[in-house]
């Protein structure tokens, strides 16, 4: 994937047109980089300002009166309307539990669909794949009522479980399992191993890459989920970060330094995951395009 396919070899053709194009390209790319990075730096910088400095013009990129006041406000342990730390914890728990749930259920189902010939396999797979094309909002009302029936409203279960029913994980892993060579499993079957053992001891260890990709994607999707949590979580202590941030905007109005501090807290974990697991994230994104 790192191949440079249609690259013009630099060394051999140093003609001026080439050089100009190179410089222009770099210029564009660097400009773009500034466009993408500057707002994030601004968010970080504002989070360390006073309210006055956060709303004054001309803007200061480096805080003149550096303060951690915004952070101490949102991390204050007293009962608050915007318990950001609690939201952080909620998001962590929800995203982790959700990811675990997805990995377990999707891998098992994908294996069965890919490798075991059973009655109804084709039909089940067809049904599952079809739902991939149904937009999420169609399930919004009925799922709300179902979640209410279980008593999960305003609890983390409401944001952990329903999302794991999505078909993407099953589809994605099934593709991978299909591409694995069958000999190992056949040999193991002959040896008298049952499916569970094969699954646990052979398939899973060999699937680390797609599992990691799915894990990262599921984690990120759940962490960033917005529409659903906004409507199923109510009390301040039950929110996850995204609806929490939205409520911060209402609660703090022009205290932008506090709102930005919330944004920073919400961004750091995902950026960390991204930096360390970047290749999984990007691979996941590009793979989803290629399969189509």
């Amino acid at each position: 994937m790192e191949d440079t396919v249609s690259v013009e070899p630099k060394a051999s053709r140093r003609d001026p047109a080439q050089l100009v194009r190179l410089i222009l390209s770099y210029g564009v790319l660097i400009l773009l980089t500034a466009v993408f990075v500057a707002p994030l730096l601004w968010m970080l910088s504002t989070s360390f300002k006073t309210q006055v400095e956060a709303t004054q013009l001309p803007p200061t990129w480096i805080p003149e009166h550096f303060t951690t006041g915004a952070y101490s406000k949102i991390f204050s342990t007293g009962k608050s309307q915007t318990p950001v730390l609690r939201w952080f914890l909620n998001s962590m728990i929800a995203a982790s539990a959700h990811t675990a749930l997805v990995l377990v259920t999707a891998s098992m189902a994908a294996y069965a669909l890919a490798r075991i010939n059973f009655i109804g396999r084709k039909l089940l797979f067809a049904v599952i794949v079809t739902t991939l094309f149904i937009p999420q909002f169609v399930f919004l009302m009925p799922n709300y009522l179902i979640v209410d029936m279980f008593g999960w409203l305003d609890t983390l279960l409401a944001v952990i479980v329903p999302g794991a029913a999505g078909a993407f994980g099953v589809f994605f892993l099934r593709q991978f399992f299909l591409s694995m060579p069958q000999e190992l499993e056949e040999a193991a079957l002959v040896d008298g191993a049952n499916r569970f053992q094969i699954f646990l001891r052979i398939i899973l260890p060999l699937s680390k890459a797609p599992l990691a990709t799915l894990a990262v994607l599921s984690f990120l999707t759940n962490w960033n989920d917005f529409l659903w949590p906004v409507y199923v979580l109510f009390s301040p202590e039950s929110l996850t970060l995204p609806p929490g941030l939205s409520s911060m905007q209402e609660a703090y109005q022009t205290d932008y330094q506090i709102i930005m501090a919330g944004g920073v807290v919400a961004s750091i974990p995902v950026l960390l995951v991204y930096i360390f697991a970047q290749k999984y994230v990007i691979r996941g994104a590009s793979r989803s395009g290629l399969k189509g």
Partner: protein
């Protein structure tokens, strides 16, 4: 043949080692096994996708307020109302569809073309390419809430950076980005492009790299310049990717919720209130769930038609 057998034995030995089994007779694969494998997922799937699929239709046939014991049957009335001018839901629903339509119209071309250009540029540089790719993709992992509050602040009419720098450039510095038209559309489309550009760029990049270099060489030999190579090699090679990007971008734009919710709150008035915003409001704020469910099916139908049309268009072009 011989090599295969040899291989099989090697494989057998290693599997024995892994599984710690040896010499047992083949187990009768339980008929239940595949169903046991499928069961956990199927439970989730059944409860949260299959059942709601039908339940939603059932709800849409009633005047359904879940906090009230009575949910009177209204048949297709909720649907009929959506197509009857003068009914209570007709105007706000189509207004919200219009807002979603406008948003899609304004954002899709930008989201399809600009990332392609960026991908083309990235595809030729080989120094630091990964660095740029990483940077451009980064906003996408932040989620709509962070993007929303950040850009709401940047676009604030009085204290936002955008207006300040516009003023520095000699342009008007008091544009009401978040609560007046046509600026509100810029306030929605701009941050969306900023947010999603990297994602589409990555997809394009993967597609570009799949194009057989031999095709380019052949074209060069034929004397084709860069533009013609683009037209006749790159674009055709990208067709499935283009189809994918266009379809997905249209669908994602039609689903827009977070940006108008956080950045403009539907302002001015309800002009930028997207279809999803209105559906969620009707169903989960005003508790008219039947009506909201009906709306979601109508919108889903629209999207289905558009997706099919998209597919058909591309396949036609292909021949």
């Amino acid at each position: 043949m011989a090599t295969q057998n040899v291989r099989r034995t090697e494989v057998q030995t290693s599997t024995r080692k892994i599984l710690g089994v040896g010499g047992r007779k083949p187990t009768d694969a339980s008929l239940l096994t595949p169903y046991l494998f499928m069961a956990p997922y199927l439970v989730l799937f059944g409860v949260f996708i299959l059942v709601p699929g039908f339940y939603g239709i059932w709800i849409s046939l009633h005047n359904w307020d879940y906090l009230l014991p009575g949910k009177p049957w209204v048949g297709l009335q909720n649907y009929v109302d959506l197509f009857t001018p003068g009914s209570v839901t007709f105007e706000p629903f189509w207004q919200s569809m219009d807002a979603t339509g406008k948003f899609t119209l304004y954002s899709v071309p930008l989201l399809v073309v600009v990332p392609l250009l960026v991908a083309l540029v990235l595809n030729q540089e080989f120094r630091g390419r990964n660095f740029f790719r990483t940077v451009y993709f980064a906003p996408y992992v932040l989620g709509v809430a962070v993007i929303g509050i950040l850009w709401r602040y940047l676009l604030d009419a009085n204290v936002g950076l955008v207006n300040y720098y516009l003023g520095q450039l000699g342009l008007p510095d008091n544009i009401p980005w978040t609560n007046e038209l046509p600026w509100a559309w810029v306030a929605l489309v701009g941050p969306t492009v900023w947010w999603t550009l990297g994602f589409n760029t990555v997809i394009y990049l993967a597609g570009l790299q799949d194009i057989d270099p031999a095709l380019y060489d052949a074209a060069k030999v034929d004397g084709a310049n860069r533009w013609r190579r683009f037209l006749h090699v790159t674009l055709p090679g990208l067709r499935p990717i283009l189809l994918f990007v266009i379809t997905v971008t249209i669908l994602l734009s039609a689903n827009v919720f977070g940006q108008p919710y956080i950045i403009t709150n539907g302002d001015p008035g309800d002009e930028t209130r997207s279809a999803i915003m209105y559906i969620a409001e009707e169903g989960l704020k005003n508790f008219n769930m039947g009506s909201a469910a009906a709306m979601s099916y109508v919108l889903a139908l629209f999207l289905a038609v558009i997706s099919v049309a998209n597919f058909a268009l591309f396949r036609y072009r292909g021949d």
